[in-house]
Homo-oligomer: 225 residues x 2
Amino acid sequence: MERLFHSVRITINDKLYVKDPESSNLGKRIVEESILMINDIGFESFTFKKLGQKIGSNESSIYRYFENKHKLLLYLASWYWGWLEYQLVFATNSIPNANTKLERAIEIMTQATEIDLAFTHINEILLNKIVINEYSKSYLTKEVDQENKEGYFVIYKRLVNRMSLMINEVNPDYPYSSSLASTIIEGALHQHFLMDHFSSLTSCNKKTTPTEYFKHLVFNTLNIK
Amino acid sequence: MERLFHSVRITINDKLYVKDPESSNLGKRIVEESILMINDIGFESFTFKKLGQKIGSNESSIYRYFENKHKLLLYLASWYWGWLEYQLVFATNSIPNANTKLERAIEIMTQATEIDLAFTHINEILLNKIVINEYSKSYLTKEVDQENKEGYFVIYKRLVNRMSLMINEVNPDYPYSSSLASTIIEGALHQHFLMDHFSSLTSCNKKTTPTEYFKHLVFNTLNIK
DNA sequence: CAAATATAATAGTATTACTATCATATTATA
DNA sequence: TATAATATGATAGTAATACTATTATATTTG
């Protein structure tokens, strides 16, 4: 299975980069090391100048790949959601039973990424942490409507919609499938954040996982016992 | 009732300001106009220099009230959550029935702020919008643990805990009350954001409110019909 | 009215987020 | 293999940001 993942390529909106980072060694190093660095010092403190120093390259060279760090974040996030989408589709498409399928989907969407499937230069564990800590900043902006029109969030939207459809399959009469889908995906990120920084605001911990919480939430809400 | 609200004063951690903005006319203008301005141009573009120009004051004078715009955001958010907490307690404390009480609590936490109760210089409608669009940025930082220790998030935490207790009153056996409480509060902000910018990711709209969605979610999850 | 305090004005600094230009590698192709 | 094309690196420069420091001028208070 790992081998299979190796050969998958996640297609990302080409407006998010100036030059495709997958097309060169430097590009891959930019992506690889930016993940480590954003995870390390946080998105606010992260700059192209610092990244250049770290990878022994030049600030101006990084600008030839990404217009600015905001677009780099959107690129990384798209990659992450694309990767999750792939896992979701791969793991659920052969499941005939709607309940079992939704259950598996919730697992995939709410689990902490624990295994690095070694997608060459991308560390999925750290990328998952970046998404938990920084993803909101990519859309909580004044430019969100314009950027949404440009298609910067398509993968994320497709993912929420897939979840929504699976919810509908389980209970076609449930009237809030889109909201429930977005609540699971965004809420899972939030619960993971709370586990790390505000433990009194979550019931989740090492024993009780967000997955358990969301499964209970969803299946009770849908009136499936 | 409006008159009553007038006399309420929300107590905010005094580490969040250098000089209490409630203590002078300039301080109040800073708070008042910063709300308008952040709402208008967004937190990223907002600067103390611009604010000074708008209120006919000087950048350096604003720094005598707030160390930086991050602390100003924390101050505004604390004020907002304190104000919501007041409304929550006021509206629910006399309700004896646990279900009715939780129902009323969900209404208060998930409704869009529509009426400006004219808390003198603070526009609650705009402040609610700021919280929807900017609040996450106040805690998605590398300094969150330190700032949490300093008590910058106490009001928010108290509010989530109040919700959690009300959930427990309805169903003492429900094992995820803290997570459900944080899901309602954070999730409500998120659903409002989606209504404004990603309508395909939410089932909520003018007719179907987030309040309706969350009531259904909570009472079904708690197995109360 | 003097003293204390608050506010305003101005200047200055380090950093950020770029853009532009030119030099030098590396790679492709004729 | 020479040359052209392209990629990368080095350096410089700019406007804005996020402050700090100092001094001047109001305003308030005792």
